[in-house]
C-alpha cells in the first residue's frame, strides 16, 4: 500500500457513514404492478371523474401545472391571451401523435375541447387552437390543465390519447395493462408496462402488497400512519380531497339557517383529524385548504358553547338525516362521529342509507393546484353557480369562497391526504402536492437495461 493508503483507509470508516444510499440513475424496463379502489366505468376523461392517475398515463392536456400551480407547457408549446382575456390562442406542439399513430392536429384538439366544454367557442387557426369565452378568464391555462380537458380522439365508442402509455389489455372493472410508448413526445417512460388491478378494496390491496404481488397500492387516509409504522414506504400528497357536508338546497327559513350555523359550530374537526383520521387529514374551515390559499384559518372553527347558544334561539329544530357512500369506510366513521357532535349541541341527526337525505357527506378532489380553478371545480361538483373573479387578487378569491360558504349549502369538514404504499423496488415515485402521479418517471430497480 502506498504512503497515502493508511490515512485514507483510517478516514474511510468515518466518512462512509456520510453516505446513506446510492443516487442511481433511472433504469429502463420491467412491469409495474399497481392496484386501485375505483373501477372507472368509462375511460373518457370527459365522462369519468374516476380516472384518477390513469388520466395522465393515457392522455395529455394542452397545459400542465407545476408543483406551485403555475402553468407549464404540455401539448401546447406556447399560448397568449388577447387584451381582455376573452380570446386565447394555444400553439400546438408539432410531431405529437395519438396512440393509434394519427397526428394530434389543431382540429382534433379543438374538437376534443368542444366536447368537454360545450359552452366554449373553440376552433383551429393554422397550428393554433383558439378559445373564445363569454367573459374574461385570466386562469384559462390552469383550467385546461384539468384532466377533463385532456385532448382525446373519439372514434365511435373508442377513445385514444397522446399520453405516455397505451392500452395493451383491458378487462373492464377488473384489470388493465398499459404499455410504454416508444415515440412519446416527452420521452419513453422508464417502465415497459403497468398492470393495474381495478376495483380492489383497501384490505385486498394491502394483502396483495404484503405478499409482494403488487408494488403500488392506495392507502386510506386513516391508515397512513399505521402503514408507515408497520414499515411500509408511504408517499402522500398534501391534504387535497375535501370532505364536506352538503345540503341539497338553500336554507328554507331563518330558523333553518340558524340550525345550520349551530350544527357547523358543533363539529369537532380537530377530533376527526387526530382520532378518526389518525392525522391523515387537516381540519377544513374553508373549501380550499390553507396551504393553497393562506387564509382559511379565518373561517369559523368549532365553538360548542356558541353552537348551543344559537341552538337555544331556535324554537323548533328539525331532526336531519345524513347519508354517505356506503362503500367508503372512512365516510362511515366520520358520519358516526358527526352525529355525536350534533347531539352534543342538542341537534338530532340520523344516519341513513337513503338517497334523499337532508344532507350528504361527500368527498371531492380539488382537481387543481390553481386556487381559483380548484374553487370553480368544487362549485361545479357541488352544483353551485360558478364563482366569479374580478381580478386575480387574494381578496377576490376570499370573497368568492366566502360567498359559497355563506350560502350555508356546504359545511367543510376535512381535507384528506391521498396516499400510496410503494415497494422499495419502485424508484423515483412522485406523488405531487395535489395527489397526481407521474408514473412515466418511475422506474424499477430490478429492470433490465
Amino acid at each position: 500500500m502506498k504512503r497515502i493508503g493508511f490515512p485514507l483507509l483510517a478516514l474511510s470508516s468515518v466518512l462512509w457513514a456520510g453516505i446513506a444510499g446510492a443516487a442511481t440513475r433511472a433504469h429502463y424496463g420491467g412491469t409495474l404492478h399497481v392496484a386501485m379502489r375505483t373501477a372507472p366505468a368509462s375511460l373518457d376523461p370527459c365522462e369519468s371523474g374516476q380516472l384518477g392517475f390513469l388520466s395522465n398515463l393515457m392522455f395529455d392536456t394542452l397545459v400542465l401545472l407545476d408543483d406551485q400551480g403555475r402553468p407549464v407547457s404540455a401539448l401546447a408549446s406556447s399560448w397568449q391571451a388577447e387584451p381582455g382575456n376573452q380570446r386565447w390562442q394555444f400553439v400546438l406542439r408539432r410531431g405529437v401523435t395519438f396512440q393509434d399513430g394519427t397526428p394530434v392536429t389543431p382540429d382534433t384538439a379543438a374538437a376534443s375541447l368542444r366536447k368537454s366544454n360545450p359552452t366554449w367557442k373553440v376552433f383551429s387557426e393554422g397550428d393554433a387552437i383558439i378559445i373564445e369565452r363569454d367573459s374574461p378568464v385570466s386562469n384559462l391555462p390552469a383550467e385546461l390543465a384539468l384532466p377533463r380537458n385532456s385532448i382525446v380522439k373519439r372514434d365511435g365508442g373508442k377513445v385514444a390519447g397522446s399520453g405516455p402509455f397505451t392500452i395493451a389489455e383491458l378487462e373492464p372493472g377488473k384489470n388493465m395493462v398499459l404499455s410504454a410508448r416508444e415515440d412519446y413526445w416527452g420521452g419513453r417512460p422508464f417502465v415497459d408496462a403497468i398492470e393495474i388491478e381495478l376495483g380492489k378494496s383497501f384490505r385486498d390491496q394491502m394483502i396483495s402488497f404484503d405478499l409482494g404481488r403488487t408494488q403500488v397500492i392506495e392507502v386510506a387516509p386513516e391508515q397512513i400512519r399505521r402503514a408507515a409504522a408497520e414499515g411500509r414506504q408511504v408517499e402522500s400528497s398534501a391534504p387535497v380531497e375535501l370532505m364536506a357536508l352538503v345540503f341539497p338546497r338553500d336554507p328554507q327559513s331563518p330558523d333553518d339557517a340558524r340550525q345550520r350555523r349551530a350544527f357547523a359550530l358543533s363539529l369537532d374537526r380537530g377530533l376527526l383529524k387526530s382520532v378518526v383520521l389518525q392525522d391523515g387529514a387537516q381540519p377544513a374551515g374553508g373549501l380550499l385548504p390553507n396551504w393553497m390559499t393562506g387564509y382559511s384559518f379565518v373561517f369559523p372553527a368549532m365553538d360548542l358553547a356558541l353552537a348551543r347558544q344559537v341552538r337555544s334561539e331556535i324554537p323548533h329544530t328539525t331532526s336531519w338525516t345524513l347519508s354517505y357512500d356506503a362503500l367508503d369506510p372512512t365516510a362511515r366513521v366520520v358520519a358516526e362521529r358527526i352525529a355525536l357532535n350534533a347531539r352534543d349541541a342538542g341537534l338530532g341527526l340520523q344516519i341513513t342509507g337513503g338517497s334523499n337525505a337532508d344532507l350528504r357527506l361527500i368527498r371531492i378532489s380539488l382537481g387543481s393546484l390553481d386556487a381559483p380553478t380548484a374553487l370553480g371545480e368544487l362549485a361545479a361538483r357541488l352544483g353551485f353557480s360558478q364563482p366569479s373573479f374580478i381580478s386575480e387578487s387574494i381578496d377576490d378569491l376570499y370573497v368568492a369562497e366566502n360567498k359559497l360558504l355563506q350560502s350555508q349549502r356546504v359545511i367543510p369538514l376535512l381535507h384528506l391526504r391521498t396516499a400510496w404504499a410503494v415497494s422499495g423496488s419502485v424508484k423515483n415515485w412522485k406523488t405531487t402536492r395535489d395527489g397526481q402521479l407521474n408514473i412515466a418517471d418511475a422506474w424499477l430497480a430490478a429492470g433490465k437495461p
Binding site: 466518512l15 456520510g18 443516487a23 419513453r188
Partner: protein, 421 residues
C-alpha cells in the same frame, strides 16, 4: 503530474486573445465567487407592510386598537420580529396606534401566513359588535437559499452556484475568461451568457432542433474545442459551433461517441433513446474496447497506465486498466462520477453522487488506492437530485447540476477541491 494550465484547451481558438496567466484565472475565480456567492439579502417587506396598514386603516380609520401579530408561515423568527415592528410602524403612520386592551376600541389579529407561491398576510379586524372585517395582502416568497457545506476533513469540496434555470441544465462550459462567458447546454439549445458590469446577461440562444423525442433523464455534454468553440453531444444528436461570437450552431443526427474525459482520449457510444452509454469504447483502453453498459466514467492516471472507473447500469463499479476488467463489490456509489485533479492526497479524486435522504443528494470525493473505494471528504449536499456531474475542461473542477426539490429549478454548480487543514 500534468499542469492544469498547460492542458487548458479552451482559449486557443481566439487567436488574438492572450493566454491567461494562472494568477489572472485565480483573480477571475475569486471575482466570480464574490459576485455569485454573495449572501442572499433579506427580503424587503416594506411594500406589503405599507399596503396592509393602509387596508387596515381604510376599515378602522385612525384610532387606538389592540394589535396582535402571529406567524403562521415559514418566515424565520428574526425576520418575523422585523416585520412585526415594520407593520406597527406603518400602522402608526396611517393613524392606527397599538394599545393595550383597556384603551382600545377594537382589535386587529394579523396573521403572517403563506400559500403555494406567496406570503399571505391576513388582518382580522374586530370592532364593536360588527362582523369581523378581513383584509389581506400578498408578497412573493423568495426561493430557498443554498444548503450549507459540511466541515472539512481530508479534502474539502467547494461548490459555487453558477446559474439557476427553469430548464434542465445538461452541462456547462466556460468558453472565455475575458470577458467571462459561459455556455449552458439545455434540452432546447445552448445559451451563452456573459458577465458584464457584474451582471450576467444572455448573449445568445442557439436552438437545437431534433426530430425524435428526447429520452427521459436527458443527458448531454459540452466539449470545448481548439478550432471552434465547442461541440455539444446529446442522445442521437451532435452539434458543432462556429469559432467566434456571435456563434452559429449546426446540429445533425449522429451516434458519434462522447468524450469521457477532458482532452483527447477515450470516448464512448451513448444509447440514443436511453440515459446510459452502451459500453462500446473508442478507441478503447489499450486492447479493451468494450465494458458493461455504464452511466459515467472517470480516469485516474497511474505511473504506467490509466485506470478507468465506470459506474455500471448493473449497479456495480468496474475498473479497467487496459488489461483487466475488475468488478468491485456492490458499493454505495451513485450513477454519476467525475474525475478531478488537485494538489491533495494522490492528486486525483473522483467525485461521486450519493443519497443523503430521499430529497437531498450529495457529492463526495473518493480516492482509489489499491483499487479500493476510499472516501476522502465529507459529502456536500444539494437541495435535490443531482442530474448531471461532469469534469470540466481544466480537469481541476467539475460541474454538478441539481434540481432544487423546493423550487423545481435546476442549479448548476462548479465543484472544486482544496486540501483540508
Amino acid at each position: 503530474m500534468p499542469n492544469v494550465s498547460e492542458n487548458a484547451v479552451y482559449n486557443a481558438r481566439i487567436p488574438h486573445m492572450r493566454v491567461p496567466s494562472p494568477r489572472f484565472l485565480a483573480i477571475t475565480f475569486v471575482v466570480l465567487c464574490v459576485l455569485l456567492c454573495a449572501p442572499v439579502r433579506a427580503t424587503d417587506f416594506r411594500t406589503p407592510e405599507e399596503q396592509l396598514s393602509r387596508k387596515i386603516a381604510a376599515v378602522t380609520g385612525p384610532g387606538a386598537l389592540v394589535v396582535n401579530i402571529v406567524n403562521r408561515s415559514s418566515v424565520a423568527q428574526a425576520e418575523f420580529e422585523q416585520i412585526r415592528r415594520g407593520v406597527l410602524n406603518e400602522l402608526a403612520l396611517v393613524g392606527v396606534r397599538a394599545v393595550g386592551a383597556e384603551q382600545s376600541a377594537g382589535a386587529i389579529e394579523i396573521s403572517l401566513s403563506e400559500n403555494l407561491r406567496e406570503y399571505v398576510w391576513v388582518a382580522e379586524i374586530h370592532q364593536g359588535s360588527n362582523e369581523v372585517s378581513i383584509v389581506m395582502v400578498t408578497t412573493p416568497r423568495p426561493d430557498s437559499t443554498v444548503m450549507p457545506e459540511h466541515p472539512a476533513t481530508s479534502v474539502v469540496i467547494h461548490k459555487t452556484l453558477l446559474w439557476t434555470d427553469d430548464n434542465r441544465i445538461l452541462d456547462v462550459a466556460t468558453v472565455s475568461t475575458n470577458p467571462l462567458r459561459v455556455a449552458f447546454l439545455e434540452p432546447q439549445g445552448v445559451m451563452l451568457v456573459t458577465l458584464q458590469s457584474g451582471h450576467w446577461q444572455q448573449e445568445q440562444s442557439l436552438p437545437i432542433e431534433h426530430l425524435h423525442p428526447w429520452p427521459r433523464d436527458l443527458r448531454g455534454r459540452l466539449i470545448l474545442r481548439k478550432d471552434h468553440l465547442f461541440d455539444a453531444y446529446l442522445p442521437g444528436i451532435f452539434c458543432r459551433s462556429t469559432a467566434n461570437v456571435p456563434l452559429a450552431l449546426s446540429c445533425f443526427e449522429s451516434d458519434d461517441p462522447w468524450p469521457l474525459a477532458p482532452g483527447p482520449g477515450l470516448s464512448a457510444f451513448f444509447t440514443p433513446n436511453r440515459n446510459y452509454f452502451t459500453g462500446a469504447l473508442s478507441p478503447g483502453i489499450e486492447k479493451q474496447t468494450t465494458t458493461k453498459p455504464f452511466y459515467s466514467a472517470a480516469m485516474l492516471p497511474r505511473d504506467k497506465y490509466k485506470l478507468w472507473i465506470f459506474t455500471g447500469v448493473d449497479g456495480q463499479v468496474h475498473l479497467l486498466d487496459g488489461a483487466s476488467d475488475q468488478t468491485l463489490p456492490q458499493s454505495e456509489w451513485g450513477s454519476d462520477i467525475a474525475g478531478t485533479q488537485s494538489a491533495c492526497g494522490t492528486g486525483w479524486q473522483v467525485l461521486v453522487t450519493g443519497n443523503r435522504d430521499k430529497i437531498s443528494e450529495t457529492v463526495q470525493a473518493f480516492e482509489v488506492p489499491d483499487r479500493e473505494l476510499v472516501p476522502v471528504s465529507q459529502s456536500i449536499e444539494f437541495g435535490g437530485h443531482v442530474t448531471a456531474l461532469w469534469s470540466e475542461a481544466d480537469g481541476a473542477t467539475a460541474i454538478a447540476v441539481a434540481q432544487n426539490s423546493q423550487t423545481g429549478k435546476y442549479e448548476a454548480y462548479r465543484l472544486s477541491i482544496t486540501c483540508a487543514q
